[in-house]
């Protein structure tokens, strides 16, 4: 346990008291760190009465045992709280350079409680922790905020996370930004930070990370580093992935969908004008990376001519690139402008694009009039109107006030049948609708933080069948893109494995990208072993692959229990209202196979097939007896003798 700092900071912004708490080694063993630590602490500190924007909702910032070490892609940290967007588990993972700095300061978690009377920021300088006045920064964008803090502290190497106007104004899907574009994007963590009057957290850490077995650790790091180097594709930018999706998985964006219009198909001129190939040729200046990352997937761009001439920025992230096909925007420049805007405002691109596309759809269907949308002409493709709408949402003005409430609440507030055109899962919209095959859908719908593509890494749809079968012999069939003869037997079990594995990756400090595509899905079964070796050789806490996956399973179960306590049932493991409306081959296939896949998933998890609830015996097996007892009180558990 040489290098894993078992200390956390508890800061109460109401009483301005600061405490340092030791973390028990057994706790680290059970929950690994980062997402695992946060999810468990959230269970302990929150109950179903807690309002997400109330001071008693804690904001948790956790890092994992590999964060800040030489293990490639070890930049990640997780921010958790009860989500103001979904009212269930809120959890968001972020890269950049902030997480490692917390590690060098010697802590594994920050627990922020209460609410300050006036805007403040936290300054953590190794042992010296201060709550500082931020009234002069309140109202500033995220980029300027970080610059002012560096100037205030007289150190350009300080690393910060902060909120922009969206978080200050409590937009329910506000995010937290670090650097130019690293974001703890999903589930509205920025709004929780804003509700505490907390503008930023800044850190300077100067301590060593001691390595338990340096010789073995360095060999392991080099091996992973070489694997990534071999597998990485220099074209990897988010816009390229968007282009790839549109071109290779054309089915995903073609055909009538929830937007009720044709979306771009393979080789369309729109994909060419806003795709990654054009971006790299005409706009990209250089690539930038998160801490210790050989993938470096963050391009820096420059617009050289036209209305947006002189615009420079970083990204855009995958979420924002989807605003192009969703809102039918066929020019690159306004997309890059929007990217800067959302990073400076601090707002989640994925929820934002779904809210905007939904409103445009309502406008096109004449559900809402021009007067009601502040005179904006919200026809498909009007990028100026979309930009104006982003301003209105962040400032909560006019129609923006409704959209700032997030996908679930906004459609209810507007009513008039508009609910038919947005399909959040547990209150949050996922990346894109599963129009390719139904196979991605189970991963989206079972995700414990609501609709999301990053919590299951459900690779089967795109991984060759023979490879999957090698690792998961129980898989009988396999999805083939757009095939009508898919056999989903075995998929529920595979989904469980991928969820558990993702929980491990999110809890040890590594980037999910490096553990999915970069190290190649061909080797995914070996990855838990690689991660276990990295933890063992660096921290001295002995782990094997089986124990890691078990810890991942435990983390998923804590999160599931959290949501059950909040009142979620089996009905919430679905797209909200989609079945009634959409007639599309991918969706139809999903509903055809849904029951088989979900039943298999619930049984491999040891959950009840009928109710979707956890079983007491299963929770006890995972050392979660106290959680089982509390769930029993809430009648959200199935007893098994």
């Amino acid at each position: 346990m040489k290098s894993w700092p078992l200390k956390s900071i508890i800061i109460d912004l109401t009483s301005r008291k600061i405490k340092i708490r030791e973390t028990h080694e057994n706790f680290a063993r059970l929950y690994l760190g980062e997402r695992g630590f946060n999810s468990r602490k959230l269970w302990d500190l929150v109950n179903s009465e807690t309002d997400a924007l109330n001071p008693n909702n804690p904001l948790l910032i956790g890092i994992g045992p590999l964060c800040g070490t030489l293990a490639p892609c070890s930049s990640r940290f997780t921010i958790s709280a009860k989500s103001p967007l979904t009212d269930i588990l809120g959890s968001s993972n972020c890269g950049g350079h902030f997480g490692p700095e917390l590690r060098y300061a010697g802590y594994n978690q920050l627990i922020i409680l209460g609410k300050s009377k006036y805007p403040v920021y936290l300054w953590i300088d190794d042992e010296n922790i201060e709550i500082r006045d931020a009234r002069n920064i309140w109202g500033q964008d995220t980029w300027k905020t970080q610059e002012i803090i560096m100037e205030d502290l007289g150190d350009a190497t300080v690393k910060s996370i902060c909120i922009g106007l969206a978080g200050e104004n409590l937009v329910r899907y506000a995010c937290i930004i670090s650097g130019l574009s690293s974001a703890a994007g999903r589930t509205g963590m920025g709004a929780v930070m804003g509700s505490k009057n907390l503008k930023a957290v800044s850190i300077r850490g100067t301590k060593d990370i001691e390595i338990s077995e340096p010789d073995k650790f360095i060999v392991k790091c080099k091996e992973v580093f070489n694997n990534i180097k071999k597998a990485r594709n220099p074209k990897w930018t988010s816009l390229y992935l968007m282009e790839l999706n549109a071109n290779m998985l054309g089915g995903s964006w073609t055909g009538k969908c929830e937007l009720d219009r044709e979306i771009w198909g393979p080789g369309s001129s729109a994909v060419k004008s806003v795709g990654g190939t054009r971006f790299m040729e005409d706009f990209m200046r250089n690539m930038r990376a998160c801490f210790n990352c050989p993938i470096h997937c963050k391009p820096f761009y420059e617009v050289k001519e036209g209305k947006y001439s002189g615009l420079i920025g970083e990204g855009p992230d995958y979420g924002l690139t989807l605003i192009a096909p969703y809102c039918d925007i066929r020019e690159m420049e306004p997309i890059l402008y929007m990217n800067n805007l959302i990073n400076q405002y601090g707002i989640d691109s994925l929820s934002l694009l779904h809210n905007i596309a939904w409103l445009m759809n309502c406008y096109e269907k004449k559900i809402i009039t021009t007067e009601e949308v502040n005179g904006l002409n919200l026809i498909w493709g009007n990028s100026d109107a979309v930009i104006e709408l982003i301003h209105l949402i962040v400032k909560k003005q006019g129609i923006g006030k409704i959209l700032a409430e997030g996908e679930k609440r906004a459609s209810k507030l507007l009513g008039r049948g508009s609910e038919k055109f947005i399909f959040p899962i547990k209150g949050m919209s996922e990346t894109s609708f599963p129009r390719i095959t139904g196979s991605h859908a189970p991963g989206y719908i079972t995700s414990t933080r609501g609709g999301d593509h990053l919590r299951a890494l459900f690779i089967p749809a795109t991984t060759p069948k023979n490879l999957l079968k090698k690792y998961f012999p129980e898989l009988r069939g396999g999805f083939t893109l757009n095939s009508k003869e898919n056999n989903v037997q075995g998929y529920g079990k595979v989904l469980k494995w991928f969820e558990d594995f993702s929980a491990v990756v999110n809890s040890v400090g590594l980037c999910i990208f490096s553990c999915s595509v970069a190290i190649s899905p061909r080797k995914f079964e070996e990855l838990p072993e690689v991660i276990a070796d990295l933890i063992t050789t660096s921290t001295g806490i002995k782990f094997n692959a089986k124990e890691l996956i078990l810890a991942g399973e435990r983390i998923i179960n804590v999160e599931k229990a959290f949501n059950s306590r909040e009142g979620l049932t089996i009905k919430d493991d679905d797209y909200y209202g989609a079945k009634k409306i959409i007639n599309h081959s991918g969706i139809n296939q999903y509903y055809k196979d849904r029951e088989i896949m979900l039943n298999e998933y619930y049984s491999s998890r040891g959950w009840d097939i009928k109710t979707g609830f956890q079983k007491k015996s299963q929770l006890e097996r995972l050392d979660l007896k106290d959680i089982a007892n509390e769930l029993e009180k809430n009648k959200a558990i199935v007893k098994v003798i």
């Binding site: 980029w143 610059e147 190497t157 060593d208 990376a289 801490f291």
Partner: protein
């Protein structure tokens, strides 16, 4: 001998800082590295700062106790730690801001090129750091370009 920097290729990942501190101290701490990435976030530019082993080093000039010397056979700048009085004047004098002061011991950390096998160059995956063992590129032109 020195290390040449190709600015266009640096992504700012700071892997060089980590491997440098690990190589010299057997532990990881970027603030104890002999190379540093200066991050100009707003302009998206990451600049590696490392000792260029100047022919007429300002650090040696200002050192009050002759702790910084030129190793003539290797043509590199070296620190004689026994003489160092930890005043930090060398770091202030360096024209490239390449000298870091150890936050704990307060001694200057100057790149020694890992005895001819610089680890930062080995681990830099983009080729932003290039080892120049026999001064193929003259130091004068390098200083100018920098």
């Amino acid at each position: 001998m020195n290390i040449i920097i190709n600015l266009d290729k640096c992504t700012g990942c700071r892997m060089c800082e980590l491997i440098c501190s690990f190589t010299h101290n057997n532990s990881i701490n970027p603030r104890k590295a002999r190379i540093h990435i200066y991050k100009n976030e707003r302009n998206g530019v990451d600049t590696p700062l490392i000792c260029l082993h100047c022919d007429e080093p300002k650090c040696a000039e200002v050192c009050p106790n002759n702790a910084i010397v030129i190793n003539k056979s290797l043509e590199i700048v070296e620190v004689n730690y026994e003489n160092c009085v930890k005043c930090g004047m060398c770091a202030d004098a360096c024209v490239n801001s390449a000298i870091n002061i150890d936050p704990e011991s307060k001694i200057p950390l100057i790149c020694n090129l890992c005895d001819g096998n610089p680890k930062c160059v080995e681990w830099c995956h983009t080729g932003a750091l290039i080892f120049n063992p026999s001064n193929i590129i003259s130091k004068k032109s390098l200083e100018k370009a920098y």
